[in-house]
């Protein structure tokens, strides 16, 4: 079981990084809007998994995206940030009981899933664009990019989850 999880995580990591850097970083819808699907790795990490490991893996994930995108450490910072606040967001969106259940993200009901995903996407994008633009004069641009890219990422993440979830019912 443990080695199975290890393989799933490795596979997901590599596939998501490749999809992000080869395909999604070059969409540039309306000039600047790109979806960031790779945070799916952080979203799908087992809910009862080790958090320190998640923070470290998120750092590696973000850093890989940064190396391909020549963007310093902005993705790494944003990923580490959402990995760290993930337990809080989980508690907020799923209620206190999530720690005791072995929930999987496909089994959560739609409303809770939407809250969880949208909060994670918003926090990730805000940190990302704050660091990327790095100028308080352009705060409007930060918010605008966060909103538009966020909507794009959110739709893509939600549809990816529904496409790849096993029909357990």
């Amino acid at each position: 079981m443990q080695s199975n999880l290890f393989f799933i995580l490795t596979f997901r990591f590599i596939i998501l990084v490749l999809i992000q850097v080869i395909l999604l970083n070059h969409i540039n819808f309306l000039g600047y809007i790109n979806p960031y699907l790779y945070i799916l790795f952080i979203l799908l990490y087992p809910l009862n998994g080790n958090n320190s490991l998640l923070i470290f893996l998120s750092f590696l994930l973000g850093l890989s995206i940064d190396i391909f995108g020549d963007s310093g450490g902005i993705h790494a910072a944003a990923c580490v940030f959402i990995a760290y606040i993930r337990p809080v967001i989980l508690k907020f969106s799923l209620g206190v009981s999530y720690e005791y259940n072995v929930l999987k993200i496909n089994n959560i009901d739609v409303r809770q899933r939407i809250i969880y995903i949208s909060l994670m996407v918003i926090f990730h994008h805000i940190v990302l664009f704050l660091l990327e633009i790095f100028n308080i004069d352009h705060i409007l641009l930060v918010l605008k990019s966060t909103l538009f890219s966020g909507i794009f990422s959110f739709i893509l993440i939600l549809s990816t989850i529904s496409i790849f979830s096993k029909k357990s019912k």
Partner: protein
């Protein structure tokens, strides 16, 4: 001691988060300043290799247009050669034996970005092809940027669409100099600042590189003036420039090596030291 250990264990997630976040923040800060982005860049074997595979595939989709661009450029050069022959008919010099101050290396763009505030390209040429840091990069239509990092097979370019980029530029007609910067708003429009108020600025005029630095030769095309306004200090203009290059769609570029740059730099440093 036990209490410190206990504290560390209890807060291990927060400490891990803090350390990793600070590392990423420092990397971000470095990427915002020119020439310090040494470790995290796409001029390495793994990402360069993956980008090469990608551009090998995606390059086929643009072949027709790229051919057209090359043909256009050839026609331009042919006209140029013809006009030069008209000037001096009895000299038939083999152009390969002409000594030139500049050496050109062709390269393919394997990764391009233009939607960020600090944009970079990755090229498929590196130190093996005599590519060095600080060489200029142009395309057949005009200015592209400056080499920022090199590995043995790849190089990254700081393009003019970057808030760190400052390139010496002049008006083609009047030889007034200014600095080319970018306000991050539109990938086809860059800004030319510090043009003195005395300069005769006309919408539609061409701007070229100034030749004041050792990186670019004089007279490489950049774009035409779109509009202009006078600064608050009433002494200088800020010009919006429409680029000739479509920076969102670069495929083949040339790297310019100024063979005299070492000598010029040595001379300039000698003057600095003498002061």
């Amino acid at each position: 001691m036990q209490q410190i250990l206990f504290f560390l264990i209890r807060n291990k997630n927060f400490l891990l988060f803090l350390v990793l976040f600070i590392i990423s923040f420092v990397l971000t800060l470095q990427s915002h300043s020119f020439h310090k982005n040494k470790f995290i860049n796409s001029a390495n074997l793994v990402s360069g290799g993956i980008y090469t595979i990608k551009s090998n595939v995606s390059g086929y989709f643009n072949l027709k247009k790229e051919n057209q661009i090359l043909i256009d450029e050839n026609i331009r050069f042919r006209k140029h050669v013809e006009s030069l022959q008209g000037l001096d008919t009895n000299s038939n010099i083999d152009s390969t034996t002409l000594s030139s101050k500049y050496q050109f290396v062709s390269a393919s763009v394997i990764n391009n970005s233009y939607h960020k505030s600090n944009n970079r390209l990755t090229l498929n040429k590196g130190t093996k092809d005599q590519v060095k840091i600080d060489l200029g990069v142009i395309s057949s239509k005009g200015l592209v940027g400056i080499i920022e990092n090199v590995s043995s097979n790849y190089a990254t370019v700081l393009t003019i669409l970057n808030t760190n980029s400052q390139i010496n530029t002049k008006l083609k007609n009047s030889n007034h100099f200014g600095t080319l910067v970018w306000d991050t708003k539109n990938p086809n429009v860059v800004q030319l600042i510090d043009i003195p108020r005395l300069a005769p600025v006309v919408v539609g005029d061409t701007v070229t590189t100034g030749g004041m630095s050792t990186i670019f030769p004089k007279g490489i095309l950049i774009g035409v003036i779109k509009d202009y306004f006078i600064n608050q200090d009433k002494n200088s203009y800020t010009l919006n420039i429409n680029l000739f290059n479509d920076m969102t769609n670069l495929e083949h570029v040339y790297i310019i090596d100024n063979l005299d740059s070492e000598e010029i730099k040595l001379l300039e440093n000698a003057i600095e030291d003498a002061k």
